[in-house]
Amino acid sequence: MSATTANLLYLFTIAAFILALRFLSSPRHARLGVQIAAAGMLWAVIVTLSLERVVTGYWWMAAGIAIGSAIGVVGARKVKMTAMPQMVALFNGVGGGAASLISLVEFHTVWALNGDVGVERGVSTVFSALVGSISFAGSMVAFGKLQDLISGRPITYPGQQVGNALLFVGSIALGAVAMASVSFWLLAAAILVAALFGVVFVLPIGGADMPVVISLLNAFTGLAAAATGFVLHSNVLIVSGMLVGASGTLLTTLMAKAMNRSIANVLFGAFGKLDATEAAVAGGSDGATVRSATADDVAVMLAYARRVVFVPGYGLAVAQAQHDVRNLAELLEGKGVDVKYAIHPVAGRMPGHMNVLLAEANVPYDELVEMEQINPEFPQTDVAVIVGANDVVNPAARNQPGSPIYGMPILDVDKSRNVVVIKRSMSPGFAGIDNPLFYDAKTVMLFDDAKAAMEKLIVAVKTV
């Protein structure tokens, strides 16, 4: 089959992918959409196999697809929902790596055939090779950070940004020279330098900023795939890659906005490193006291409330307490209490992560309320229960201009009549800053592990 016929047949795949994204606008038919996309992907593979260019290496392909699919299925089935950000980072990285390798091999093929690659193809080849490589290496570091293989705290050293910039420029320069001199090995070297840049680029970014990094790297891989489409003259690669690029870009800006920081600040600010000690001292308790409560006290508050809002944070996920929260919520609903969950846009380790964790615990998605919708409801809320969240409910973001998180949109839990904070200790959250909410007269602290606290509350509410 000629490349033109293939481009015609690939239209089915393109339509399938766009439909899939369209179907993701509602949880009701989102799953169908993803299945349509998977069918489109299968179709693309079949069309590609019948291309006139594809004449050899069938056993290699079969083996490669078998191995890759096995890794994919096992990884996707085994992964815990709390580890979803790592998994996404990993799959994202391998896609980028593949794009990079494809450009490298295609460069060699075209060069061996024509002795030259031409400027147009050259530019897209270098772009895809470098961006794919950055995405691969960056994703691997992000994976390491999220999996706690590397410290989640920002890693900084003197001259870091200058060094990083040099690496970045160096990889582009090497790529340009590789094109000008048509050298395979120079391009390979450029890819290695780009990979090194990917590593040092993600290292100084703190764990709390991972939602931004992951979506940015997602956009990178998409763009690398689109560039590969220019190298191979394949429309399906261009469109699909760009769809992903658009999605990643959009999510990146959304996440940065949810933290009230510019993307540049997230990427180059090494947030959570410099301000930590300073702010902890500055925003200190000023002799204010913390009220501690027992599970029985809290149980009475909850059982006699008309309206309770749970504010889940990553601490809940770490303690695997999402099922217990759901049980407690159902118990309260049985007593006629109106229960909702307030979800901050950056709750969890990637965009929308908390929703997935609660969906896993069978919380119906119509009880999960976004920040903009729930904030006006807090003044009518009797008890706000904060489980393993901290920075996203810190009123300092609203009223302490000196605070590093000042201006970040937060859940206004301090406006509800009572606040219960379930926390293991007084230690600060990811941003490393103190939380005035804990010293509020309306707030009681229940010092316990999220899961243990929920279990105790369930027992206590039953006896109220």
Partner: protein, 99 residues
């Protein structure tokens, strides 16, 4: 600039607009599945991997590099779709309400 490149750039720009348009309608509730779903979609590089693998190469090195690309791309596609499907399966409405 070749006519083909101009056509391809046109496709790229249009795809960008379609992408922004469609994705801005995805609710925050589904942002994680969106991300892993688009992750699976960029697994379309498997098309490129098959093309370079299926092209005759003089040396073994190119075959090995293409082979690695096939493995990586397949893991991306299959893993991405399976994990997205697994997530979306969990999103349910309140059971006592009519669908």
């Amino acid at each position: 600039m070749s006519a083909q490149l101009v056509t391809e750039l046109t496709i790229l720009v249009l795809a960008a607009f379609v992408g922004f348009e469609v994705i801005s309608k995805v609710p925050t509730l589904l942002h994680t599945p969106l991300m892993s779903g688009t992750n699976a979609i960029h697994g379309i590089v498997i098309v490129g991997a098959i093309i370079v693998m299926g092209t005759p190469h003089p040396g073994l090195l190119m075959r090995i590099l293409s082979f690695i690309a096939v493995v990586l791309a397949s893991a991306n596609v299959v893993g991405g779709f399976v994990v997205t499907d697994r997530m979306l399966e969990m999103f349910k409405k309140r059971p006592d309400e009519p669908q």
